[in-house]
């Protein structure tokens, strides 16, 4: 049996909806249990107080990456059938800036907003309504946005392809980046906590 299951007709599109529901259930549960249903927790990342978001996301990335690497290595997963979102450099930089600004201001990213909506948080519900309104606006204004949206197309490109590196070397480099990132994040958190303590002491005098 080869993966991706849908592409190899192991199950049809109806079953894939059931599978998507179950995966979504697990994803939402994990987000909520990691504390990501709270805008305070998410935003404290940007104040460098609590880098849990960074650590959780990077852990997820390297877990998935190593899983995909080994599954395709032993021949269970056909990587060529895994969909790659095409790269459009300029619009994705612009979109990233908008999403980042929205993340800091609103306190959620789209997925965490939905997880927080499920727990009945009013701010997340309003955020979610904004998300749908923004999507609607994008669709309505698409003729105006299209020149930007389709600018600088690079196709379905991967880092190993683009830089002519071996796949495994990139995998190892990302693992090193993650481990360095975890160590750095721990250090930043300690440093911020010490500074806060210092401020409290200074304020108390």
């Amino acid at each position: 049996m080869m993966a991706p299951f849908l592409k190899y007709d192991v199950f049809g599109s109806e079953t894939s909806l059931v599978v998507a529901f179950l995966i979504g259930l697990g994803f939402g549960f994990a987000l909520e249990r990691a504390g990501f249903g709270s805008a305070r927790k998410l935003v404290s990342q940007f104040y460098l107080n609590d880098l849990a978001v960074f650590k959780v996301m990077f852990t997820a990335i390297i877990t998935a990456m190593l899983g995909v690497t080994y599954l395709s290595w032993i021949g269970v997963l056909n990587l060529s059938l895994v969909y790659l979102v095409p790269t459009f450099l300029l619009p994705q930089v612009v979109g990233g800036l908008i999403l980042g600004a929205g993340f800091v201001v609103g306190g959620y990213c789209p997925g965490t907003a939905l997880a927080a909506t499920a727990t009945g948080r009013m701010d997340a519900i309003v955020y979610g309504l904004g998300l749908y309104a923004g999507t609607f606006l994008f669709a309505e204004l698409y003729p105006l946005i299209k020149p930007l949206h389709t600018a600088t197309p690079m196709g379905q490109v991967t880092i190993p392809q683009y830089f002519s590196l071996s796949y495994g070397v990139v995998v190892f480099a990302v693992v090193l980046m993650a481990i360095g990132g975890f160590a750095g994040a721990g250090w930043v958190e300690k440093w911020m906590a010490a500074r806060k303590e210092l401020n409290v002491v200074a304020g108390g005098q």
Binding site: S80, Y83, G168, F172, F182
Partner: protein
């Protein structure tokens, strides 16, 4: 060694595991695109059943209707494509560039060319690589010429005759009857089939641009 391991926290142990797996993965070479596996028996049965073929006349109807739910791919070399006759709405993707052209698995792809062996090879490559919507224009450009642009109408009844005439007129040709010579080899109908090099494609009569409805994936 064991004592060092047991002194680590769980997070540190997981990081160590990731490091080791990453280090081993340097040797990993997951094939991307190049290698494919397919069920040869199933492919043989499908090929024998004649599926994956579209008649030239059916294609002509689709183009006239302005249907945009398929991509017509001409696999000739760019030189042959630029010089030779082409089917309106066809885009040129040479056989050796088939997998660099951004074709989507699942979209309807019609392959055409002047070399039916090359077209069949392209179809096999696409099918084996999971492009489930690939078909071949039966008979290739020769069939397009002989059945659509310059169709023989001997023995056809009046309504079929007038329909064929209308279709061939749409593509700049004319029906042939028994007395006529063979179809002009070059299909040199000005403006329509033999487009000038600067005008690669012609919009179908419906005025709709042939923009394939791409299935979107990802978030």
């Amino acid at each position: 060694m064991l004592r060092v391991l047991s002194s680590l926290t769980l997070n540190q142990r997981l990081a160590l595991l990731a490091f080791v797996l990453g280090l081993v993965a340097i040797a990993a070479a997951p094939a991307r695109g190049g290698r494919v596996t397919f069920d040869s028996g199933d492919m043989a049965r499908r090929a024998a059943s004649g599926s994956g073929r579209v008649a030239a006349r059916a294609l002509a109807d689709w183009i006239i209707q302005g249907r945009s739910d398929f991509r017509l791919v001409d696999i000739r070399t760019p030189e042959a494509f630029a010089a030779g006759p082409r089917i309106p709405t066809a885009e040129n993707i040479p056989l050796d560039a088939l997998f660099d052209a951004g074709l989507d698995r699942g979209e309807k792809i019609l392959l055409v060319g002047d070399d039916q062996v090359a077209v069949a090879q392209a179809w096999l490559l696409l099918e084996a690589s999971g492009y489930s919507g690939a078909s071949v224009v039966d008979g290739g450009l020769a069939a397009w010429r002989d059945q659509v642009v310059y169709p023989r109408v001997d023995g056809a009844d009046v309504s079929t005759r007038s329909r064929l005439a209308a279709v061939s007129a749409h593509f700049g040709g004319a029906p042939r009857t028994g007395g006529d010579a063979d179809a002009p080899a070059a299909m040199a109908a000005p403006g329509v089939v033999q487009a000038a090099p600067g005008v690669p494609r012609l919009p179908p009569s419906g005025g709709k641009k042939p923009a394939p409805a791409k299935k979107r994936e990802g978030c």
